[in-house]
């Protein structure tokens, strides 16, 4: 089975602990995205799986075989590097053939295989060029081609799309996803781009400061972020996280004191377990609001401070006293700065985080 499992994976550089006790399991055919801000340890984790870094602690299993102490080549993994790491002195064709040559395949086999992959990735035109003479998109495709040309245990991608422009990135995202779909290998993609993660991953592992914050499907990560960090990190514009006091919970609705307003709002049943009067954080995504005509007990009133048209939608920066809120409304809605709007949260879109910043959830 082509799966990956890491247990208690830890990496220390001197006094610095880059990765602490990471546990992950990636099944064959599954795509896991390691997502996090720069310096969170995601690349180090990837490199330890690849065998490019020695583990300080913990175990790496690939295809159910313990890989600690094995060299990268013994692990039989394919990796696409952030800067592609194409062999600058070899042509595209030679780059692609390189891993197969290392496996001592016959020339005929290598040729047909390389041709096949080149055709699939639309590289046939550039086979005789050197990496220096390629565009960014082409380099990226060559890097992918070199990884998929062989039949490894699993795939590792390190920020594979970060060097591409927006259009190219969208295209490649689709292509890579399709390729991976067809391969039924365990795949780990490291990225700092949540859109990449959300679109490509079967599951996402959000990392911060060497720890895994949450591992879940893209949908769950988005709708049920495990804590304030994940909630704030995932989603653009980012989620409104409002400091609040829980005053009462009744019939699935919570009464919440905001800075200057009170609101009655639909929340998860588990909120029941929180003592009235506790400090909580109310999380509402900018797109989870709808504007209503009149203030009610389930609305928040806020003043439009700044208007950012984003094409199909418009982003409003609103102020409620000292609290800033982001609200996304339809393009057709006409608003002016200084106008006061009444915002109602869409049903079951409000999240409550407890005093420790953990999501309160049944």
């Amino acid at each position: 089975m082509s799966n990956i499992r890491v247990q208690n994976l830890t990496k220390r550089f001197g006094d610095l602990t880059a990765v602490s006790g990471v546990d992950l399991e990636i099944k064959a055919g599954e795509v896991l995205c390691l997502l996090g801000p720069s310096g969170c340890g995601k690349t180090t984790t990837l490199r330890m799986i690849a065998g490019l870094e020695q583990v300080s602690d913990g175990d790496v299993y690939i295809a159910d075989e313990k890989m600690n102490g094995k060299t990268p080549s013994q692990r039989d993994v394919a990796m696409v590097f952030q800067f592609y790491a194409l062999y600058p002195t070899l042509t595209v064709a030679e780059n692609m053939a390189f891993p197969l040559r290392a496996e001592k395949k016959s020339e005929a086999e290598i040729n047909s295989r390389v041709q096949e992959v080149a055709r699939a990735l639309a590289l046939t035109e550039v086979m005789e060029r050197l990496p220096d003479q390629l565009g960014e998109g082409e380099k990226q495709r060559v890097a992918v081609a070199r990884a998929v040309v062989r039949d490894p245990n699993c795939f590792l991608f390190d920020e594979p799309l970060s060097r591409l422009d927006v259009t190219l990135r969208q295209t490649m995202r689709g292509e890579i996803k399709e390729i991976l779909n067809g391969l039924s290998k365990a795949t780990v993609i490291v990225t700092h781009d949540q859109l990449e993660a959300l679109t490509m991953a079967d599951r996402i592992a959000v990392m911060r400061d060497g720890y895994i914050e949450q591992v879940a499907t893209p949908h769950d990560i988005f709708t049920r972020p495990a804590n304030l960090f994940v909630a704030g990190f995932i989603g653009t514009p980012s989620m409104n996280l409002l400091e609040a006091t829980l005053t009462k919970f009744q019939d699935g609705k919570a009464s919440i004191d905001l800075d200057s307003q009170k609101i009655l709002i639909d929340v998860d049943k588990a909120v029941e377990g929180i003592d009235a009067g506790s400090q909580v954080t109310l999380g509402i995504r900018p797109r989870a609001f709808q504007v209503v005509d009149a203030a009610g007990e389930d609305t928040i009133s806020a003043t439009v401070d700044l208007i950012e048209p984003m094409g199909a939608e418009t982003l409003l920066h609103m102020m409620d006293g000292e609290t800033e809120m982001r609200v996304v409304v339809g393009r057709e809605m006409k608003v002016h700065t200084g106008e006061t709007l009444h915002l109602q949260c869409k049903p079951s879109q409000a999240l409550i985080f407890d005093g420790n910043g953990q999501l309160v959830l049944t």
Binding site: R47, A50, G51, L52, T71, P72, S73, R75, D76, V77, A78, M79, F81, Q82, F83, Y84, A85, L86, Y87, P88, T89, L90, F98, P99, A102, E103, D132, R146, R150
Partner: protein, 290 residues
């Protein structure tokens, strides 16, 4: 990341620049030109006042490089042909050896830093700081004990040592500039460490190797003191044999000396010319931070 010609700052200048640098170059080259000219002059022409730019060229000096006329009027070979071979062989092999060993060490220093890495590098550099005269007696003694004295292997080892510091320093800076990702990619592609070094690193460093080789060759080509004391009659190099043109009855035989210098310049000049592009690219590649 990688050196690319097209986005670096070599701008075009026209023939006017050729003119300016041409004049500067000629002024700079004038002493060498004078030496080469001298090789074709008789002693009288060479010491003539005012200096002679136009004269009947004579090949006598070049003849005298290779043949000596005895009292009896016989022509006897001076062995200079052998000495030219010796110089090329000793310097070439010494540089090559230094390059091989130095590149390995540079790879080690760059990729697997030891504790106190910088100290080791500095110690290697200090070996070039001492006047060679200080170590010459122990080396001479050691060579005699080991039987290396007068052998090719001895002088080659010595020249390798001579160039090692330079090679290590220069090659390390080249390795530092190389992306380690490419090496990692190769490891993941399933090739062993030896192949990573030879198939991945070395092909990327041809410019750096060429530059180091040229510098090392230039520094070794004219080495005199060690060659004087440690080569034998059969392994003598040209710089030592060149002294034949100095001293003796005439003092310096300017014509003969010029002829030897001129001939001796040709190999190193040709090598430098051939590798000139690498020389510049190599130095750039190796030492400039992005």
């Amino acid at each position: 990341m990688f050196f690319k010609k097209k986005d670096r700052g070599i701008r075009e200048a026209g023939w006017d620049r050729t003119l300016i640098t041409g004049v500067v170059g000629m002024v700079y080259f004038a002493p060498v030109f004078w030496i080469i000219l001298n090789a074709f002059k008789t002693r009288q022409d060479g010491l003539a006042t005012p200096p002679k730019l136009f004269f009947t060229p004579s090949m006598d000096n070049f003849f005298n490089v290779f043949y000596r006329i005895t009292d009896a009027g016989d022509h006897v070979a001076t062995g200079m042909g052998l000495y030219f071979f010796n110089s090329i062989f000793a310097a070439g092999a010494g540089v090559l050896l230094a390059l091989v060993i130095g590149t390995l060490a540079a790879y080690g220093f760059s990729r697997y830093p030891l504790r106190g890495n910088d100290t080791y590098l500095f110690v290697i550099l200090t070996t070039r700081m001492l006047p060679p005269i200080v170590v010459i007696i122990p080396i001479f003694l050691m060579f005699r004990v080991t039987g290396l004295s007068g052998s090719y292997i001895g002088i080659i080892l010595l020249y390798a040592m001579f160039n090692l510091a330079f090679s290590v320093w220069m090659m390390k800076s080249f390795f530092d500039e190389l992306s380690t990702d490419v090496e990692d990619a190769a490891r993941l592609d399933g090739i062993n460490e030896i192949k990573v070094f030879f198939k991945i690193c070395i092909p990327q460093l041809t410019a750096g190797l060429a530059a180091t080789a040229v510098f090392a060759l230039i520094l070794t080509w004219n080495e005199f003191l060690f060659a004087l004391l440690l080569t034998g009659n059969d392994t003598r190099t040209v710089p030592v044999a060149m002294a034949r043109a100095m001293g003796g009855q005439l003092g310096v035989d300017y014509g003969l000396l010029s002829a030897i210098i001129t001939l001796f310049l040709i190999p190193v000049f040709v090598v430098t010319y051939m590798l000139q592009n690498h020389l510049l690219r190599g130095v750039t590649f190796g030492t400039v931070k992005k």
